[in-house]
């Protein structure tokens, strides 16, 4: 019960209070690039969630069961980026073979996830937060993905409506997206006192 409670707290905290996009600035590139349409944003969010959970768990295992006992923490970054690249490659191959329709709709986003800083960032934050157990690592990385999905979907919804708005010419495109993101970050600050 104790464990379940702490896992739930960790999940809520990583989805809302420590949202990767709004408080850690991770995954901003796809956030600006893909958030034009809500269905694309949702697809991207799901792909990121999937890869993030997978690589969060894998890097935690490698870090705790292989690198730490051998005293090889120096090789952490190289190992992490290789694991993420391999995970993305595997997911891509699997989807291509078994769910081609989904593969088509993900398009070029999948390879891009390798260099999505949110995935590597989350793996590194798991180290910084001192995540103690595998189950905690899985829950936190899943929560990180959900948080990213929520952020990118809210943004896509706003941007779909913004097409009907008369934005000053200089602010069109990326600038107004960043300003909107700033206001959203302000809103998300309201969650700070929740836990």
């Amino acid at each position: 019960m104790e464990l379940l409670y702490s896992l739930l707290l960790g999940f809520v905290s990583v989805v809302l209070i420590n949202n990767l996009v709004f408080t850690k600035f991770l995954g901003i590139c796809p956030y600006i690039g893909v958030s034009g349409r809500i269905d694309m944003a949702f697809g991207m969010g799901l792909a990121v969630t999937f890869v993030m959970t997978l690589s969060g768990a894998l890097t935690w295992m490698i870090d705790h069961w292989l690198l730490m006992p051998l005293g090889l923490e120096v090789a952490r970054y190289v190992a992490f980026i290789m694991v993420i690249a391999a995970a993305v490659q595997l997911v891509e191959m699997y989807l291509k073979k078994f769910i081609p329709s989904l593969y088509e709709s993900f398009g070029i986003f999948l390879p891009l996830i390798t260099t999505n800083c949110a995935v590597l960032g989350l793996c590194l934050f798991l180290v910084v937060w001192g995540t103690g157990s595998l189950i905690e690592a899985v829950v936190l990385s899943f929560g990180g993905g959900i948080g990213f999905t929520i952020a990118i979907c809210i943004m896509a919804g706003i941007r779909e409506n913004m097409q009907m708005v008369d934005v000053p010419e200089s602010l069109q495109g990326a600038p107004i997206t960043l300003i909107t993101a700033g206001l959203l970050a302000l809103a998300f600050m309201g969650f700070a006192g929740m836990i």
């Binding site: 600035f25 590139c29 190289v78 290789m82 180290v127």
Partner: protein, 205 residues
């Protein structure tokens, strides 16, 4: 002296590209994540900029040296591993000589690995140019990135705390805008600076 197809000096072209024509943050919208994360004050921004210059120059040298043996399908993997190795060096150096700064920057130093600017330069310049040009390109691009970071950091630090380099420069009666030091300030400042640059660009045309 080597020259580009339109007869320009190749080194001058690299410098102009990095510092103005394709200045990474403002023109290409690359490397946005560190841009937002480390610009709450000038000092971390400058440190981050120097780290990026170091990694960019080193990885450009390496990629340029091995450009003849590159195969298409392992290219990106090799780039990433090279970058990760140099980022580890930079991270260890920072931890040894600037422990407080290393603590403050946290995971954003290792996150240089996935900074798109570096892999973009490896792909666009170093994998098809000589070592010297690649070094110049790395220096120019890195400096362009650092300048962009500093512009944002100066605005945010002055408005957020009334200080610059931790020295009081605004009168103490100035109410510090605490929000500028928070994520909100990062997004808003970046958005408005980009808008201002677009405005200048439109006026010129």
């Amino acid at each position: 002296m080597a020259a580009t197809p339109d007869g320009q000096n190749i080194y001058a072209e690299a410098v102009a590209t990095g510092l103005w024509r394709e200045i990474p943050v403002f023109r290409m919208l690359l490397g946005t994540c560190p841009t937002l994360a480390v610009t709450a004050a000038v000092k971390p921004a400058l440190t981050m900029g120097l780290c990026v210059i170091f990694v960019l120059v080193c990885s450009n040298i390496m990629v340029s040296l091995m450009r003849k043996g590159l195969r298409p399908h392992v290219r990106i993997l090799l780039f990433t591993l090279t970058i990760a190795a140099f980022v580890t060096v930079a991270d260890l150096f920072l931890r040894a000589y600037q422990p407080a700064m290393s603590e403050a920057l946290g995971p954003y130093v290792p996150l240089i690995i996935v900074n798109c600017i570096i892999i973009w330069r490896a792909e666009a310049r170093a994998s098809n140019s000589g070592v010297l040009v690649s070094i110049v390109d790395g220096l120019a691009m890195g400096t362009g990135f650092t300048i962009a970071l500093c512009i944002l950091a100066v605005i945010r630090e002055i408005l957020g705390t009334g200080r610059l380099f931790e020295i009081q420069i605004l009168p103490t009666t100035f109410p510090a805008w605490a929000a500028m030091g928070m994520p909100v300030g990062a997004f808003l400042t970046f958005g408005f600076v980009l808008g201002f640059i677009n405005f200048l660009k439109r006026k010129r045309v």
